[in-house]
């Protein structure tokens, strides 16, 4: 073709994009899903989490209370654990029957019992014992001090089964309510001994969070958006990478394309450019959709918290150059691997596990203590996720950003070179069989 190598690359890319978006699946994965589905899925996840949380909070649990003598189960303990007033009604008049949450029903073991009996009450089959129903947790109260059998440590024993959700819920509720009983008893004893209960608390701490509400919102976004950026790019590149390589072989147009009077490298570079463009489009659309809907989506999770979720426009714009370089890297890797396949289905099978080399580093960005620095700036995938997180947090790590850009450029260039070499190999193009990974080295040899 008359004109430059780049013109040929451009023509191939334009043709692949034009025909690619005429395919329903490409349009679905590149446009529809990023715009609509991921925010909806995200919302569903949050709603599901809230439903489970709500269900937990509205679950009644039963706690068995065990003591040497029933009188050891004092009314204040009973009231605090069940959060009922002295007359037996609910502690808050505003709480209606159907809106009761965090209910704890108490059952008392009506005989002298020891630790073994307490444990057995939790583990034994209710049909065999005297109790009507197995409690979710069992609280064994120590014998009060002053008695011959009193426990010098004055320690209550709480038995629960951490593998059962109800039992763990019962544990949490008891542990949240017991300090009230303990504080009340401490105060009563102090008064009985004639000194001010305040003297038992020599030091208390009051917290003051000085972080601006928008910074807190940025922190929440920084835990999610970088990982989503990395994953959406991979998903955006996945389908076109398979379609333009293995799919073309399956449609018997691979040889047709080889007849074009342009350099073979231009053909494959054009394909990688088309894959990258589709991936960029999918990522940008997804980020816009998530950015616009983040406040609404996360409002449920942050209700009652002193947090404000704002659209991170500056960070979204700042990440574009790095995201573009990362997209080229991802597209080249996925296109090269997909090119080894002989059919569309086999291409999907090859890329399925290959996606993990991007998704695992992206998930690592949530690890505490992992930050963008002069070392992590050189780790592909992780660097772009950490850079985005830093940008969302407003960190001015300009040298690290520059290093990230340099690293991504190098990796993208290398990946493109390797992918083009692979795709241009006669065996890869024309053998009609999927090439196993173990032959990669021999294929790349000059």
């Amino acid at each position: 073709m008359a004109g430059s190598h780049f013109t040929a690359v451009w023509e191939v890319a334009c043709k692949e994009l034009r025909t690619g978006f005429r395919d329903r699946q490409t349009t679905l994965y590149a446009l529809v899903l990023p715009l609509c589905m991921y925010p909806v899925l995200f919302w569903l996840m949050i709603q599901g989490f809230l439903v489970v949380q709500g269900k937990k909070e509205h679950t009644d649990v039963t706690v068995g209370v065990v003591a040497q003598a029933l009188e050891h189960v004092t009314p204040d303990l009973e009231q605090t654990l069940t959060q009922q007033s002295e007359d037996g009604s609910e502690a808050s008049d505003a709480v209606e029957e159907d809106d009761r949450i965090n209910v704890v029903e108490l059952q008392k073991l009506g005989q002298a019992a020891d630790l073994a009996a307490a444990r057995a009450w939790l583990t034994d089959d209710p049909a065999q014992g005297e109790q009507a129903v197995r409690p979710d947790a069992v609280l064994f109260l120590p014998t009060p001090s002053g008695s011959e059998e009193s426990d010098p440590t004055n320690r209550a024993q709480l038995f629960y089964d951490s593998t059962r959700s109800r039992s763990d819920t019962a544990r949490k509720r008891i542990e949240a309510r017991l300090p009230e009983v303990i504080d009340a008893r401490r105060e009563a004893r102090a008064v009985a001994r004639g000194f001010d209960p305040a003297e038992l608390t020599p030091l208390s701490v009051e917290r003051h969070d000085i972080a601006p509400v928008e910074d807190k919102g940025a922190l929440i976004l920084s835990l999610m958006l970088p990982m989503l950026l990395v994953m959406m790019t991979v998903m955006g590149a996945f389908f076109p990478a398979v379609d333009l390589t293995a799919g073309e072989k399956e449609r018997k147009t691979a040889e047709t394309t080889l007849l074009l009077p342009i350099p073979r490298t231009a053909i494959h570079q054009g394909k990688i450019l088309a894959v990258s463009t589709t991936a960029v489009l999918a990522t940008v659309l997804n980020l816009i959709a998530l950015g616009l809907s983040a406040e609404h989506l996360l409002a449920s999770l942050t209700r009652g918290m002193d947090v404000r979720i704002d659209l991170p426009v500056a960070a979204l714009l700042s990440i574009v150059p790095l995201a573009a370089l990362y997209t080229f890297f991802v597209s080249a890797v996925l296109t090269g691997i997909a090119g080894l396949a002989a059919s569309f289905k086999e291409g999907q099978a090859l890329l399925g596990p290959a996606q993990m080399i991007f998704i695992f580093p992206a998930m690592a960005v949530a690890l505490p203590g992992l930050e963008l620095n002069l070392a992590t700036a050189w780790i592909p995938v992780l660097n772009v996720a950490l850079a985005f997180r830093a940008m969302l947090l407003g960190q001015g790590l300009y040298l690290e950003y520059l290093l990230t850009a340099v690293a991504l450029s190098l990796y993208a260039a290398l990946a493109i070179r390797i992918a083009v070499r692979l795709l241009a190999h006669e065996t890869v193009l024309l053998s009609g069989k999927t090439i196993p990974f173990k032959r990669l080295i021999s294929l790349l040899r000059p």
Binding site: M1, A2, G3, A8, E11, K15, T19, G20, R22, D23, R251, K252, T253, A254, E255, T256, L258, L259, L260, P261, I262, P263, E426, T427, L430
Partner: protein, 263 residues
């Protein structure tokens, strides 16, 4: 630019070899030192059974495959040294050169025309000319995936001749076609002779070779057994029918391979 051997050589191959590596069978020599010469305005038929090396030979000439050894040139241009120029001078058609399913016939022709460097105005005129010449008007705007086999064949031929190449290479062009489509293809090939185009096509259908070819090259087991017009081959083997000619040549070749004296 023409070959030094003569101005009329459109295709020339010397000692052409192609070896494939098969994981199960090891090294497989598909083409073993093949010589070939075709002239402008000539229809040359490459005749041989399945697995003889016909397709591999044609793919090497079309620069789809690189020769393992030997040399080949199209219109004087070496296929290894300047494959881009070779691709500008050939039109290639085979069972594995399909059409882009999501493009229309017109878009396909435009795409190839742009890639061949044809300017926009002349390209549109050329595309219209081909659509009319191959009677594609009723389906030129429809996607290729929706076309019938015969319609696809017409679009493929138009794609192959769009840039008016001096050499046409066709690999079993009538395979899979019905009677009418086959007949149309044969008519098309014949029409190229008068246009001065060199047509090299492979076939295992003897009647096509008998009807169309100025010369026939009989290929078997990667080697060229004999080359000549039908009359020359008949005279060489003493057989009348091309089928018997072919069998005689193969018999001689097998006998020579086993050490028997050649008749």
């Amino acid at each position: 630019m023409s070959s030094q051997d003569g101005d009329a050589l459109a295709i020339q191959a010397r000692g052409l070899r192609k070896t494939f590596h098969d994981p199960q069978r090891g090294e497989v020599e598909a083409v073993r030192g093949l010589d070939l010469e075709c002239r402008h305005g000539e229809i040359y038929g490459l005749l041989g059974p399945n697995g003889a090396g016909k397709t591999t030979t044609l793919r090497m000439l079309a620069t789809i495959l690189a020769p393992t050894a030997g040399s080949a040139s199209i219109d004087g241009v070496d296929v290894a040294a300047d494959p881009l120029e070779v691709r500008r001078r050939i039109g290639f058609l085979s069972g594995s050169t399909g059409l882009y399913a999501r493009m229309t016939a017109r878009e396909t022709l435009r795409y190839f025309g742009r890639m061949h460097g044809i300017a926009k105005g002349p390209l549109e005129a050329r595309v219209d000319e081909l659509i009319e010449a191959f009677d594609m008007g009723s389906f030129a705007e429809g996607r290729c995936e929706a076309l019938s086999t015969g319609q696809k064949q017409r679009v493929s031929i138009a794609r192959a001749v769009l840039h008016d190449p001096p050499v046409l290479i066709l690999d079993e062009p009538t395979t899979g076609l019905d009677i009418l489509a086959s007949s149309a293809m044969i008519d098309f090939i014949e029409s190229r002779r008068s246009a001065g185009t060199c047509v090299l096509f492979s076939t295992h259908i003897l009647s096509e070779a008998e009807r169309l070819c100025d010369r026939i090259g009989v290929i078997y087991d990667g080697r060229m057994l004999a080359v000549g017009s039908l009359k020359e081959l008949q005279s060489q083997t003493g057989e009348e029918w091309l089928e018997d000619v072919f069998k005689a040549l193969v018999r001689d070749a097998d006998g020579a391979a086993l050490g028997d004296p050649v008749q």
